[in-house]
């Protein structure tokens, strides 16, 4: 399966909902959205291009039969931004927060993730990379304080050129001052499309600290609103893929950040071994032996990153109930609860 920017269906919630969801009485006409006024390809207060989050918010609002209104706030700091906007009741929804229930503690409730993003290497075509090692000995632009800077500087043989902003790194790439840039993927893709004429090639990189999933955050207690947005996001999945493509978000098979993928140190605990055996019998044909899938959307070593403390619950529920629309079978009857628990215990032992 070719990796696209993964538009993630919010199927579970969609299936659980009735079709007609009442909209809270106090906000009949508008969906108030917080967004950064100057942060393309994600959002912009002025056109012509409004950014993926804004266009998506428009689509969500339209399906809800309301008008989207914006509260613009520069998002230099994650949590502070959320406190100053969503939690100050300046808006109802924040598009593009980490799909992590623990992100803002109890105060913000997240929808299911709707988009996966990550860091990527961009360089002149043809850019064929099998691993980051192929960048050794070449000048690679990174942005200050980013995980790529930390990652590459901790390995031998990489010549880093550091910039405060990813745009500056991409500028240097355009001028030929560096051989490649290892920066935030959507920024690279958008810059390539708008400024570099699409002349460069982008290879996503997968690994801990390099990717994340975006969700929509609403204030605690706004469960109805969250359910409505979840439902609309699910229905808008093709549009999310289209928008990611429009804004040049990287696609394609990611290369692993680790040069030699660690072969998941064999666990010694009995249940882990049992679980691994069960996993390799029943799950490995889609999710790779020992769960070492190179395909990110099927890589179950990323469950902890995606779901945090809820990982175990989500994994048990998903294996038991399946995700039929995405090709994930229902295993509850076939395996039974005990085997599923053992499989999940094995999965916990291999998390990134």
């Amino acid at each position: 399966m070719v990796r696209r920017p993964v538009a993630r269906l919010a199927l579970l919630s969609a299936l659980m909902l009735c079709l007609a969801m009442p909209w809270p009485a106090e906000s009949v006409d508008t969906l108030r959205v917080c967004a950064d006024p100057d942060n393309l390809p994600f959002s912009s207060s002025e056109g012509p291009e409004r950014g993926l989050y804004v266009e998506l918010a428009e689509l969500v609002a339209a399906r809800m039969g309301v008008r989207a209104e914006y509260f613009w706030w520069r998002s230099y700091f994650g949590k502070r931004t959320v406190r100053n906007t969503l939690l100050s009741d300046a808006c109802d929804a924040y598009f593009g927060l980490p799909a992590d229930a623990a992100f803002m503690g109890q105060s913000v409730t997240m929808t299911r993730p709707f988009l996966d993003m990550g860091y990527a290497v961009i360089g002149p075509k043809p850019l064929t990379l099998s691993s980051l090692d192929d960048l050794r000995g070449r000048r690679v632009a990174v942005s200050f304080g980013s995980y790529p800077q930390i990652l590459l500087s901790s390995r031998e043989g990489f010549e880093l050129v550091t910039f405060r902003q990813p745009e500056e790194a991409l500028q240097a790439l355009g001028k030929g001052e560096v051989a490649a840039a290892f920066v935030w993927g959507p920024t690279a893709g958008y810059y390539n499309r708008t400024t570099l004429g699409g002349a460069y090639q982008i290879v996503p990189v997968a690994g801990p600290g390099l990717t994340w999933s975006a969700a929509v955050g609403v204030r605690k207690g706004k469960d109805e609103l969250r359910a409505v947005i979840d439902r609309e996001l699910a229905a808008l999945q093709p549009d999310i893929v289209r928008l990611a493509d429009k804004y040049g978000f990287p696609s394609g098979v990611p290369i692993p950040a680790e040069s030699a993928p660690s072969s998941a140190a064999p666990p010694t605990v009995d249940t882990v071994a049992t679980g691994r055996s069960l996993f390799n019998q029943h799950c490995a044909h889609c999710h790779a032996p020992n769960a070492m899938s190179p395909e990110q959307s099927r890589d179950l070593r990323r469950l902890r990153l995606r779901y945090g403390d809820q990982m175990r619950d989500v994994a048990v529920a998903t294996i038991t109930g399946g995700r039929p629309a995405r090709g994930m079978p229902t295993w509850g009857d076939a395996l039974g609860p005990e085997a599923i628990r053992e499989i999940v215990t094995f999965l916990e032992s291999v998390q990134n």
Binding site: F144, I150, L160, T187, G209
Partner: protein, 563 residues
């Protein structure tokens, strides 16, 4: 300002040591942030003393017009008190020091959204004065000169572009015809510098980069091109010794936090010390060149900023009156240096320290405990002190009466990893979450420590169940004043730590107090307004701080009521 000479003579005879004669100034007036250029935060006034302090009452108060994170210490020039609020400063007030009646107010337009650019809140610590001018460093990277009489803006100079995350929060240092300032930004990839401006024109006279450029000695202490955005910002206050003609500043942590970017990610860091980050600098103010340096935390991995104020005191060492410098560093060690030569005289932990077992007296370097050095993919657990340090920016004070230093210390520990905790704009993504707010051993979170700098020993201490004590002031009245996060403003017996008087200001106090005398009457002043951003780093501990008192912004001035 002339010192109050008769009093001084008295306590020189009776005391174990003295404030540097070259630098001590705080007599009737308190005309500079630290009380004097030596940053002793000591006053020779003694009408308010261990006996009379119980009668201390509010004389007047001034609402500063902003809430949250007040860090300002007023200064007195003539009979005018100058005080700033947080947020820019949102306001600089000149008020009648007897009544608090406002004489003028300067309210600069601060760019909207500027609070996005400060790592640690929109604070301001006060102003400096020289030759009829008041100098203000602003969050937006400007230093302005105001007419001390009218508040009119005389000149305005951009020192740094604040949109790089570099903001000015501390009063500049006045040396001869210069106004000298640094700025923050160690968290944002600034390359630090000190800028000396001409007092008359605001034009830059010299600039000292606190990280050497290519070809300069020390540049090779950084791996790759990490020196370019390596931090080492001198964001706190400077000290000055006119006899030695040396200006002293401390510099911040290197950046980024992740040490693998800057060196070998190991306690065996070799040449990769990252000069001049986390360093005490002695500078020739005429040239802007470094005369000597002493790095407290080489190749920092803990965010142990080296900015804490340098307190200049002359004491007898081995029969020799010696020009000393005291520093209670964030890294938990109390350093005594010869401030003429930079030679290390002694260093000892003044709080619970477990990341290093001591300081090597030959090299001056910490003897690291390798387990406690955070690395890439290695989370060091229970490191003490945490990144707020054994002491943060809140000033300590030195009393020549007791020979002791009064340190508002912290007792917090952390789990830390050698990577970045910051969100990046447009990625909105947190790579790492650290546990910064672990209560240290003993169950208390802060401690007001009376420290003997020569024996390097604790003489007494007052532990507190909450962190973040206010800065301290010592006086010839045998007192030490300080506030706490609950809003209590206290006067302690400098010899025992016993609380002799306290007043609830209604909001947490971080700022250091000051005192002055007018018409034979002594006043004590302190700015109240709880820290806003520090609790946010600290999880459940932060919640306790927030619950301890509401935000505020008030200058309280106390006096002894006429019987």
């Amino acid at each position: 300002m002339k010192r109050f000479a008769p009093l001084l003579l008295l306590f020189v005879l009776a005391s174990p040591g003295m404030v540097s004669t070259a630098t001590a100034q705080a007599g009737p007036a308190w005309s500079v942030y630290g009380g004097d250029m030596a940053n002793t935060h000591y006053s020779a006034l003694d009408r308010i003393n261990t006996v009379s302090v119980s009668r201390l009452k509010v004389a007047w108060a001034l609402q500063l017009g902003s809430l949250r994170s007040q860090e300002s210490t007023p200064i007195l020039v003539g009979d005018t008190l100058y005080v700033t609020s947080s947020h820019g400063p949102k306001n600089v007030f000149a008020v009648d020091a007897r009544t608090g009646v406002v004489r003028w107010r300067y309210s600069p337009e601060v760019p909207a959204g500027i609070d996005q650019f400060g790592c640690c809140d929109v604070n301001n610590r006060g102003v400096a004065h020289a030759n009829g001018k008041i100098f203000v460093g602003r969050l937006d990277g400007y230093v302005v000169a105001l007419d001390a009489k009218t508040g009119a803006e005389l000149w305005k100079t951009q020192v740094v572009d604040y949109t790089q995350g570099s903001i000015i929060t501390s009063p500049p240092t006045i040396v001869k015809n210069l106004v000298i300032t640094g700025f923050g930004g160690g968290e944002f990839g600034a390359r630090g510098y000190l800028s000396a401006l001409d007092q008359e024109t605001g034009k830059e006279v010299w600039r000292l980069w606190t990280i050497p450029g290519p070809g300069e000695p020390g540049n090779d202490t950084w791996k790759g091109d990490s020196w370019k955005l390596g931090g080492a910002a001198a964001w706190l206050v400077g000290s000055y010794d006119p006899t030695l003609n040396l200006l002293y500043y401390g510099t911040s942590n290197p950046s980024p936090w992740g040490p693998s970017v800057r060196g070998p990610d190991s306690s065996n860091y070799g040449k990769f010390t990252n000069l001049y980050s986390a360093t005490t600098l002695a500078i020739n103010p005429d040239t802007g060149k470094i005369v000597w340096y002493y790095q407290t935390t080489p190749y920092d991995a803990w965010d142990y900023d080296g900015v804490n104020e340098l307190v200049l005191v002359d004491r007898n060492i081995d029969g020799q009156m010696t020009p000393l410098m005291f520093k209670a560093d964030r890294n938990g060690f109390f350093y005594v240096l010869n401030r003429k030569t930079g030679q290390l005289i002694s260093a000892a932990p003044f709080v619970i320290v477990n990341w290093a077992t001591g300081i090597d007296m030959t090299t001056g370097r910490p003897i690291e405990v390798p387990d406690k050095r955070p690395k890439l993919k290695y989370r060091a657990k229970d490191i003490c002190p945490n990144l707020l340090g054994g002491k943060n920016w809140q000033p300590m004070s030195y009393s020549p009466q007791t020979g002791l230093v009064y340190i508002p210390s912290l007792n917090l520990c952390m789990d830390f990893e050698g990577a970045e905790p910051a969100y990046k704009r447009g990625s909105f993504y947190l790579a790492f979450e650290f546990d910064l707010g672990k209560t240290g051993p003993g169950g208390y979170m802060s401690e007001l420590i009376a420290w003997d700098p020569l024996t390097q020993q604790k003489v007494w201490s007052n532990p507190d169940t909450l962190p973040w004590l206010g800065g301290t002031m010592a006086t010839a009245g045998g007192l030490v004043f300080h506030g706490d996060v609950r809003g209590w403003f206290k006067a302690l017996d400098a010899r025992s730590g016993k609380v002799l008087w306290q007043f609830n200001t209604g909001s947490g106090i971080s700022a250091a107090p000051m005192t002055y005398e007018l018409d034979g009457k002594q006043y004590v002043a302190v700015v109240s307004g709880r820290t806003f951003s520090i609790p946010i780093f600290l999880g459940p501990v932060g919640k306790m701080m927030v619950d301890a008192s509401p935000e505020g912004g008030t200058l309280f001035v106390f006096e002894l009521p006429t019987p």
